[in-house]
Subunit: 414 residues, 2 copies
């Protein structure tokens, strides 16, 4: 980790690049502030990566980069080293060619993004003055599709919790005790089944209460996004799409909150009535929803639906975050769209939303009061978190051209 | 395995004891047929044992027998080596003292009971003549309680199946795809929840169709069995007992069929919509029910309840067996009760039922046309299949006295 941080810091030698300790992994700071009167941006990215997983699934070793067909294959190539490199090289190129950047730039490249940025909030709070800026520009957060330049203007929030059903004091033989006690597997299934209506909507009272409903204009914008439901169905490989009625699939993916049971776990494939059964649940939240309120609704639902003969407990995981959004007409979004148009003149940029979560963007807003423009040149098909992660090499030059245009536009707009 | 079989065969030297190969593990045969005109019994037991499990949970090593407080601790001590030893030593004692047994005795001590006796049916069918008898007396099948001599007159049948729900073609990120596809965990929970009514009865149409309802006399007999529901509740450690209404807990345990979901398994504790989710299910069957008919009812229920947007499959495990029962007024049961009275004059023997399964008894009936008297001196509290399995040593002499009395009664009753 420290070697990676030192490598990043060295690339920022012209900007005082340095490795700084946190409560967890070190991060890298740097700043070039030679443009008085121009705005200041804080460039965010991360140098940490996911574990490689089963290395036998990799065509080439995860930590030995290989170039094939114009793509660099390596763990971290697209999440987030390639996109961070684009930002660093943009700054270096400006500095090398003109001796200056078009605006003031601070850098914060962290090492804990893949584990939920646990040290970041405290670090930001302690360094407010040192990080003062007008806008965060993030090199993290993938584009939607390789063929369509896009800017994400919203990311869902996240609430993770565990549901535990406890019955007998030890595992029981299902032959000797079946029919006399509530089976925790049955009780868990009953609870999990109660979370959704048959139509796919969440059946927890109050779950949708604080959701900011889409404005007609937003729905029109979404309807213009090219999205073929049948292609999507084929891509994910399901017999039929399924979800909350009253919304298109894209509206559900991008703008509706969800409650997904990620794990069911109880007993084993033998004649047992297990003493307990567990579910892991994650809710994706949308603007308006607060994690605490959603948790409260789920807890009340579970209390009301708790089956007979067992104990039921809900435990929330730390690190819940609300949704993040930046207005479609925010000046930074306008500048981002213009910068993409300059590089991809044939393809009108799309404003998209992300079903995943961007805790850092929420933390920048909460701690520093800054909006974040997501301006990554990663694409969501590049095997993020999976074997054979790659980064399209032509995105390096496209990305640098777009970042350069963005900085000039932001400088001019000030 | 072979050494254990050879040890048993050697104990039957006076009866031509020999190790015989099967399609699987060897078994031991032997016979003493020197009582012309007297009935012939087939003594059944098994020399194989369960795996020891986590050896750190054993107070003394599972395969080094230790005697403490009048109990022998070892894997297999009570299931089924102690009870088999009782039968073998009864025969040896008769032979040593009188040069003869009171009736004709064949022995069949198998080595595959703990894995469902997969080779036994074929073996029995091929050796019908060699195994001809009037009755099977089983040294397997534990007594209900140490304080109450008992004979089990019924054991439930078993039907095991797996339920698999398949959704997307690969695991999906629950942030990126949540809300657009049916989550196999949700679908599995919906199906599992549909198997039971809230009152604990099985809600699968046709499940109870062929159940032979208890006669009033049977219910009266059961009502006289000492059974304290509150003690039972405390013993299993549940906040409340739970089960099919209209029956006492003991009636449910001993005479009602059950459908228990032993395992729920899907996804993991991370942000995934799993491609599939599984349940392992075992049904305990009672007299009248056929495994094939119950399977058909479950398959029809699953077809009718299959949630939208996923594929659902039911796969039956091999080895399903119907219930076993011997009439309470069968002469062999009378003889068994008399033999227990002779050894335990202060305690009237109980006729009990077993929630577990006795495939061998079903096979003896189906293949050889023989009823089986369960006459074991194991007790169900002796940690069968668990760490610290033990056998009460005073049961050795009590058991031999009872087996001797039983044989004399059966001989006299002929």
């Amino acid at each position: 980790m420290r070697r990676a941080a030192e490598w990043v810091a060295a690339r920022l030698d012209f900007a005082g690049g340095r490795v700084v300790d946190t409560d967890g992994q070190p991060l890298v700071l740097g700043e070039w502030l030679g443009a008085p009167g121009a705005p200041t941006i804080l460039v965010y990215g991360h140098y940490d990566v996911q574990p490689p997983g089963d290395e036998s699934e990799w065509e080439t070793p995860p930590f030995a980069p290989h170039v094939r067909d114009g793509r660099m294959y390596a763990r971290g190539a697209t999440d987030d080293k390639g996109p961070v490199f684009v930002a660093l090289e943009t700054a270096r190129a400006f500095h090398a060619e003109t001796g200056a950047l078009p605006l003031n730039v601070r850098f914060l490249i962290e090492g804990e993004e893949e584990v939920g940025s646990p040290s970041l909030e405290r670090f930001l709070a302690a360094r407010r003055a040192e990080l003062a800026a007008d806008l965060v520009v993030s090199a993290d957060g993938a584009m939607w599709r390789a063929s369509e330049p896009s800017i994400a203007i919203a990311a869902k929030g996240l609430l993770a919790l565990d549901l535990a059903v406890t019955g007998p004091s030890s595992d029981l033989h299902s032959g000797r005790h079946g029919g006399a006690v509530q089976n925790p597997n049955h009780a868990l299934a009953e609870l999990v089944a109660s979370f959704h209506a048959a139509d796919g909507s969440v059946a927890v009272a109050g779950f949708y209460d604080d959701v900011t409903e889409l404005a007609a204009a937003d729905r029109e914008t979404l309807a213009r996004v090219p999205f073929d439901e049948e292609s999507y169905r084929t891509e994910v490989g399901v017999p039929a799409l399924h979800g909350e009625p009253g919304y298109t699939t894209l509206e559900r993916l991008w703008t509706r909150p969800t409650l997904e049971v990620n794990e069911l776990r109880g007993g084993g494939a033998f004649t047992v009535i297990p003493r307990s059964a567990q579910a892991h649940i994650t809710c994706r939240l949308v603007p308006g929803q607060q994690p605490e309120a959603v948790l409260g609704a789920i807890e009340a639902h579970v209390r009301g639906a708790a089956p007979h003969g067992v104990d039921v407990r809900v435990e929330v995981e730390p690190g819940a975050v609300p949704a993040y959004a930046i207005a479609a007409d925010h000046p930074a979004v306008h500048a981002g769209v213009e910068a993409l148009r300059a590089v991809y003149p044939a393809r009108e940029p799309l404003l998209v939303r992300i079903g995943g979560t961007l805790p850092a963007a929420v933390l920048f807003e909460r701690t520093l009061g800054l909006k974040t423009l997501l301006f990554s040149f990663s694409t969501s098909d590049e095997n993020l978190h999976a074997p054979n992660e790659f980064f399209r090499l032509d995105r390096l030059e496209e990305g640098m051209a777009a970042w350069a245009a963005l900085w000039q536009l932001l400088a001019a707009g000030s």
